[in-house]
Amino acid sequence: MKQKHLIEIAVALMLARWKQTLVATIGVTFSIALFISLLGFMEGLNQLLDGLVLNRTPHIRLFNDIQPSKIQPIDLSEQYQNYHNFISSVKPVNTRKEIYNAQQIIHKLKNDKRVFGVAPKITAQVFYNLGNIDLNGIINGVDAEKEAKLFAFSDYVIKGNYRELETISNSIILGQGAADVMNAKIGDIITVTTTEGEQFSLKVIGFFQSGMAEIDKIQSFASLTTTQKLLGEDSNYISDIQIKLKDLNKAPALAIEFEDFFKINAEDIQTANAQFETGSGVRSIISYAVGITLLIVSGFGIYNILNMLIYEKMDTIAILKATGYAGNDVKKIFISISLSIGVAGALAGVFFGILLSAIIDAIPFSSPSIPNVTTYPIDYGIQYYLIAIIFAMVTTFLAGWMPAKKASKVDPVLIIRGK
């Protein structure tokens, strides 16, 4: 028995009921197109929202935490060595926030193959002086070039050129919120007071907007040297080392390794931003559930139409069986009808899915918190197309299987004698 002839019969049956076949195919097309565009859109949004935080957050942050020493003098005493010692209200001593041997650590990390890039950072507590009023502030001393390369710094500098941080001495990029309060314009000189009580004049060369108002009200950026000057420290002073990895998922393991190796505190992105992962995960699950429901519903459509086809074509099935076609051949015919509906629907669905995604991608969308986005985000990941196609094949196969089985069991004697 040649498959070709079974397919010829299948095609003839489909053509005989081409309207129903078309409706079933459109059902599959519709569900696949929606599945693809829905998931692409949802994932695009997820990436955008996660990117708000994750792109700007180092995968691992090395710093000296302020905490009381784990070993207290009594633990060293020989006399009380074997006792349980309880000390309440232990206070940290005057630990420095500086990272010792920062340059060597950075050098070592740069040669690590798992590390994508390293950027040093200094945080300095300051007050922005505004006449008689002092506003709380934090100045981040950064290496502007590295910050732009690793943490998309340039996306968030909405006015001015971030490169001028390095070329203009005593310059500052103000948070948009702080700038609004201070009524500062580019080129203005503002005064800040350090926690040590010293006053500095800094030139505003740009504004920065992260999308989170609380951060924009407080944080500003300056170059490493400017910040070191503010703090009255030498040019080796660094309080944070920010690491971007090649593989984000290795962050927790590597954080532990670096902590041991450099005898320093390390915090990974997963620990620091656990809530973002959860949010994206739940959104993905919801959109997959909706998408898969669509595909299953279209499977029921195919099931119905094939069932109807079988009732209408009982005579044909009976005559095929009477002339020597086995139940299995009949089953193959109906499964190939179902699969052709699936394949045609899937191909058309992928086409319309891309089209729909492109349309969503072109709809203007702007939000003050996401300055570099102008249209709705879409993720064109190949995985959605593959999942949609595979799932469509499986549902149409199953939807065809049950009616096909029924068709293969048709008793030709009943049909032929029943007339």
């Binding site: 019969i9 044909t316 009477a322 020597g324 086995a326 030709p412 004697v413």
Partner: protein, 227 residues
């Protein structure tokens, strides 16, 4: 091969349970030799159609022994029975039963696709030859549903012939035809037995038709009462 037995029924019994047991066939035994033209007659409900469908291998729910071409058909799987039906038995039904989605010649070729012994081109020329023998070669490429009753029945006969079967079974082949077409069909059958040496088994209640066949098996109440 001349006069060898192609079909043998030994003590075939069949009962329906609906809701009480009714014996439809009671110990039916007979043999058909190659080239025989036999008809089964009987009143309505005498079990003649039931017998035919048992002999055709489509109805497997019976007791007794059925041999086609010396092969015992008991305990054969559905797939094996289908293959036997395909290669050794041709069918002509009362209601023509062509596939309306295909042309006449495609309908004729259908059992040949399943047998898959010759190429499609060969099969097509063979089908065309049969149509020509039956005088309807000009209808070969017409869709089946556009044919008249007599034409359809002739296409069905060509289809029954395509795999060169041992035996052709017919269930009231002339029941739906006028006397002119019935005569044509009868003559075709006669020719099949005489020139092609086929075995024919026809179920009919048309006594005039049956009288003209070589052998009459009369059933009444599930038993053979006359041969």
């Amino acid at each position: 091969m001349e006069n060898s037995t192609v079909l043998e029924a030994r003590g075939i019994c069949k009962s329906f349970y609906n809701p009480v047991k009714i014996d439809v066939l009671k110990d039916v035994s007979f043999k058909l030799k190659r080239g025989e033209y036999a008809s089964i007659i009987g009143r309505s409900g005498s079990g003649k159609s039931t017998l035919l469908y048992i002999l055709s291998t489509m109805d497997t729910d019976f007791t007794g022994k059925l041999l086609i071409d010396g092969i015992d058909l008991h305990y054969k799987s559905e797939k094996e029975l289908a293959a036997i039906r395909n290669a050794k038995i041709g069918f002509v039904f009362q209601f023509h039963y062509l596939l309306n989605e295909f042309t006449a010649i495609r309908n004729v070729m259908l059992p040949g696709f399943k047998l898959n012994k010759v190429s499609e081109e060969e099969l097509e020329s063979k089908a065309y030859e049969y149509l020509k023998d039956l005088g309807i070669e000009n209808l070969a490429h017409k869709m089946a549903y556009k044919l008249s009753g007599g034409e359809k029945q002739r296409v069905a006969i060509a289809r029954a012939m395509i795999n060169d079967p041992l035996i052709i079974m017919c269930d009231e082949p002339t029941g739906n035809l006028d006397s002119k077409n019935a005569d044509i069909v009868f003559n075709i059958f006669k020719e099949l037995t005489e020139t092609f040496n086929k075995t024919l088994l026809v179920v009919t209640h048309d006594l005039i038709f049956a009288e003209k066949t070589g052998r009459i098996i009369e059933l009444d109440d599930g038993r053979i009462i006359r041969e």
